[in-house]
């Protein structure tokens, strides 16, 4: 078996706001092996980004709190690391690409310097000239001409800015890359270019990646494993083959697929999931999905379903009972 890189056990994250406590992540278990791409899928508010921020230890200070659980990354337990120790890990052996390339770059620094900065912080042995050479090399790698390194973010288009963000994330050749909707803000043709680039670089550095997205098409094109999140829980987890081809699915997954207009078939109506995501300050008893579930039974309203696993394909639903 391949080596574990990241293991999350029973993670609970809450946001304590003045008005209420938001239960963002509720008992999440996840394993990412070396060199593997995991797709984290779900609607807005499912807790995808919160999970990523917990791994990076970037939850908002004093508001976002990890209540319970362990995040084991290599030999560190991230939940216990001090901020000073975490700084050595963050950006060096794990890094993150944020959703919106338009706002995640500093507008008053040249893009060259923003890449330089990462290398300078994490490689105190390299000389200035060496770092500069490395910046040029990384820019070439992500498909940007190194001559443009003295330009500012506003001089680049959206796709190119996303390439700069990728360059910053990859500068130290991390072992784990968290990509939070890296292509949502981009056009399809540019999205295809960026995804191709990320796939290529991932293979080159043998990097593990967690790709957060709500686009099942993107998942099918890039991921090895898929985790489907709903209201802070993983409700289905398996290989792409399990998720896209297996007959057994969580009713929410079925609903997600029904919501996408199918390019190959002509149907007049879509089959969306009725209703809305439950309020995370006041989660329902029993299965979190029961209010919207077309196959809801009595037991779903009172008892939380246990996860059922068959050949690494996990489903958390009362409908399934394997031995």
């Amino acid at each position: 078996m391949s080596e574990k890189l990241l293991e999350i056990k029973d993670l609970h994250v809450v946001y304590e706001t003045d008005e209420a406590t938001v239960y963002a992540v509720n008992g999440l278990d996840l394993v990412v092996n070396k060199g593997e791409t995991l797709g984290l899928v779900g609607e807005t508010g499912a807790g995808k980004t919160t999970t990523a921020l917990s791994i990076m230890k970037l939850l908002p200070d004093r508001i976002g709190l990890i209540k319970n659980g362990r995040i084991q990354f290599e030999e560190h337990d991230i939940t216990k690391l001090s901020e000073a120790d975490m700084r050595l890990v963050r950006g060096n052996s794990m890094s993150m690409i944020f959703q919106d390339p338009m706002t995640s770059l500093n507008p008053v620094l040249t893009i060259g310097y923003q890449i330089y900065e990462v290398l300078e912080l994490h490689n105190n042995k390299m000389s200035k000239a060496q770092i500069s050479a490395k910046v040029d090399e990384i820019l070439k790698l992500v498909g940007l001409p190194p001559e443009r390194k003295n330009e500012y973010p506003h001089q680049f288009s959206g796709g190119m800015k996303q390439r700069v963000v990728i360059a910053i994330a990859l500068a130290c050749e991390p072992k784990l890359l968290l990509a939070d909707e890296p292509t949502t803000a981009l056009d399809v043709t540019i999205q295809a270019q960026v995804l191709e680039l990320m796939k290529g670089l991932k293979d080159k550095f043998n990097m593990a990646m967690i790709l957060i997205t709500h686009d099942l098409g993107v998942v099918a094109q890039t991921c090895d494993k898929v985790a489907i999140m709903y209201a802070g829980e993983i409700i289905e987890l398996g290989s792409v083959k399990d998720i896209f081809e297996s007959a057994d699915h969580h009713p929410y997954t079925v609903g997600l697929f029904g919501s996408i207009p199918d390019m190959t078939k002509k149907t007049r109506r879509l089959n969306p999931i009725e209703g809305l995501m439950p309020d995370p300050t006041n989660l329902p008893k029993g299965c979190v999905f029961h209010a919207r579930c077309p196959k809801c039974m009595e037991i779903c309203k009172t008892k939380k379903p246990q996860s059922v696993t068959k050949n690494d394909h996990m489903i958390r639903c009362h409908l399934f009972k394997y031995a």
Partner: protein
């Protein structure tokens, strides 16, 4: 042949910039028959939204004609145009910024009725608002809430109700679902198709999402840098795309079949070039894998390759 409900003839919209004229919409000819849906697709910055707004005269076209039932509305004065607007409405892209945060749901939906004075009795206006809310699937209890209290799907339903308030014939839908989650997106698309069936609306559906456009449209127009490069009936376009740009767009959609991901895909290189003072000839030539010298020599007109399927490409 009947007269199409909406027709544009050589419609142009240029924006003046310090560097020269920005050709946002450059000589577009489209027509939409009554009760049908035209899907307009293209990348950001190709002039889709500008086209939609120019048709409604929310921005004044620089040149060309917009025919509504055969009448050129570009020449209409303000008074006549206000009359016209009762028949043509728009649903905006972003349900978060297109609703006035200081107005309640009922005020927002009643606003067009009050502006156009179609109903004068205030009790009747209230009844109409409740009817509209029921039509779009908004519960009555939301009538006095403010937009910020509602989620994206509900907000977009308000935008739809507002567009329906004057019983229009023609609605421009400017990316009405792109800001929503897939499951909510499907609910809104179903709603819009149901409304079309029951009330016979004509839609111009602007989007960059090809799977949505295929689902909802009768005909599709593909735009690139202010020009229409291919128009065809929906099924025909997906089965038999002709223009290299259309082909590239279709190839770029991530499919749900995970076996594809090992295959090398044809991805077009580069990005959209600047629409400021564009050079003559095919505007896609710089990114086109098949471009030749003839492509950049002169402007290219739409040609009918198969009945009803028009393509603007030199290499045919």
């Amino acid at each position: 042949m009947s007269v199409p409900l909406i027709q544009t003839k050589n419609l142009k919209k240029y924006f003046k910039t310090p560097k020269g004229n920005l050709h946002a919409v450059d000589g577009v000819n489209i027509s939409i028959k009554e009760g049908q849906t035209l899907g307009v697709v293209g990348e950001s910055g190709c002039g889709k939204s500008t086209l939609g707004r120019a048709i409604l005269r929310l921005i004044e076209p620089t040149d060309g004609e917009v025919l509504f039932n055969g009448h050129n509305i570009v020449q209409y004065d303000d008074k006549k145009m206000l009359e016209m607007r009762k028949q043509m409405q728009i649903i905006f892209q972003d349900p978060f910024s297109s609703l006035n945060p200081r107005m309640t749901v009922s005020q927002i939906i009643a606003e067009p009725i009050k502006v156009c004075k179609t109903i004068k009795n205030s009790r009747e206006i209230d009844n109409k608002v409740f009817d509209l809310m029921e039509t779009v699937g908004l519960a009555e209890r939301f009538v006095n809430t403010y937009p910020h209290e509602l989620d994206g799907g509900r907000r977009q339903r308000i935008g739809i109700a507002r567009a329906l308030a004057l019983d229009p014939k023609f609605i421009v839908c400017d990316e009405p679902v792109s800001a929503l989650d897939v499951s909510i997106q499907a609910q809104i698309l179903n709603l819009m198709m149901d409304l079309q069936e029951s009330m016979g609306f004509t839609y111009m559906f602007i989007t960059h999402d090809l799977s949505v456009v295929k689902h909802i449209s009768d005909e599709i127009a593909v735009m690139y840098l202010g020009q229409c490069v291919e128009t065809a009936p929906s099924d025909e376009l997906f089965q038999n795309p002709v223009h290299p740009y259309t082909k590239a767009l279709l190839a770029a959609i991530p499919t749900l079949d995970f076996r594809d991901n090992k295959k090398e895909k044809q991805i077009i290189k580069g990005e959209v070039v600047s629409p400021i003072n564009p050079k003559p000839g095919c505007r896609f030539a710089q990114r086109c894998p098949m471009a030749q010298n003839v492509c950049t020599e002169e402007n290219i007109e739409l040609k009918e390759v198969v009945p009803k399927h028009f393509v603007a490409c030199r290499l045919l």
